[in-house]
Structure formats: C-alpha cells, structure tokens
C-alpha cells in the first residue's frame, strides 16, 4: 500500500511538473491552455486520491466545482483567440 502510494505520488508529481513546464515554455497559447487543463485534472485526481486514502469526503465539493468551472478559461481563450496570434 505505502509503496504504491509513493509511486502514485511520484507519477502525479511528474505529470504536474511536465504540465507546468509546458505552461511556461509554450510555444503557443493553445499549448498553455491544454497544459493548464492537465494541471487542473491532476489536482482533482490528487484531491480524490487523498480522500480515498484517508477515507473522508470533505473535498468532494471542490472536485465538483473544478469539474464544472474548469472549462471557462480554456473555452474563452480558444473562442476569442485572434487568428494571427502565434505567441
């Protein structure tokens, strides 16, 4: 159990660090949007894993709010991004 949880923590950390690297480096705005979506999903998975290990349900509303409103940023950026914007 502990070994599996440590391995899971390392893999969650690798996913989060890779998405943060992609947010910082880019190269385009859409790459950053995708990477921020991955970071949000990783945070949701970590919250849920902590709930499942410690057997409580305190942060389920946080996961529900992230699932409902994580879409807003990416959709607004993708909808109103100018065609010639390549930065």
């Amino acid at each position: 159990m502990e070994i599996a949880l440590v391995a899971a923590g390392v893999m969650f950390g690798v996913g989060a660090l890779a998405s943060i690297y992609r947010i910082v480096v880019g190269p385009s705005l859409l790459d950053r949007v995708i990477a921020s979506d991955v970071l949000v999903v990783t945070i949701m998975c970590v919250l849920g894993a902590e709930m499942a290990v410690n057997r409580h349900t305190d942060t389920l509303p946080v996961m529900l709010a992230l699932a409902m409103f994580g879409i807003v940023g990416s959709v607004s950026i993708a909808r109103f991004m100018a065609r010639q914007d390549t930065t």
Binding site: G15, S28, A35, G48, A52, V53, P61, A67
Partner: protein, 132 residues
Amino acid sequence: MSAELSDALTAAFIVVSAFLCAAAGIGLLRFPDVLSRLHAATKPQILGLGLIVLDVAVSNISLGTVVFAIAILFFQGLTAPISAHMVGRAAYRGDHLRRDLIVTDELADAVQRADARDRAEASRDDRDDPRD
C-alpha cells in the same frame, strides 16, 4: 468487503490514475504540435478522474458520496469534450498544427467548400447591390 481487498483496490485505482496523469504530462513534453498534445492531454480527463471518483465512492460508500461522484463524472464528461473541441478548432483555424504530420485531413474539403460558398455569396451580393 474485507479491509485488505478494499485497500488493494484503492491503491490499484490510484496507481492507474497517477499513471494516466504522468502519461499526459510526458505526452505534453514530447509530442510535436497542438493536436497531438491535445490527444495526450485528454486521456486523464475522463478515465483518470473516473477511476479516482470511483475509488472515493467505493472507499466510503454512502448515498451522498455516490450522488457527488455521479455529478462530478456528469459535469466532467459534459465539459471536457467541449473544451477539447474548442481548442482543436482554434488550433486548426489558427494553423497551430504541422500539416506534414497529418495522415488525412478530412476537414480541408469542408473548409474549401465553405470558402467557395462564401465567395459565391459575396459576389452575388455585389451584383445585387445596384438593384436595391
């Protein structure tokens, strides 16, 4: 359910979900353009989160937890394809893709037909203008 089996199931679900998150991160690092990075990034959004939510639901099962789990899965399944579709559409329209990596481009025909139709309508409107 015995405690050992429940613990093993919890650990297995968490490890699979963490593997999906790590695979998404590595795919974000290694894939060459926006569309392939989008392919890598959408894997944990449904499957990884579904495994974690199922894990929470089976580790302390009650009516409220199951209702929350179904609501989370419903809203994530509603919003994740919308955002992926919008980002992919913006990537295609904004030329953020490498066309030499695409095997087939089925959208190009539709875009060409739409452009031709727009041009035809524009020229017809120009002809119609003096009559108005």
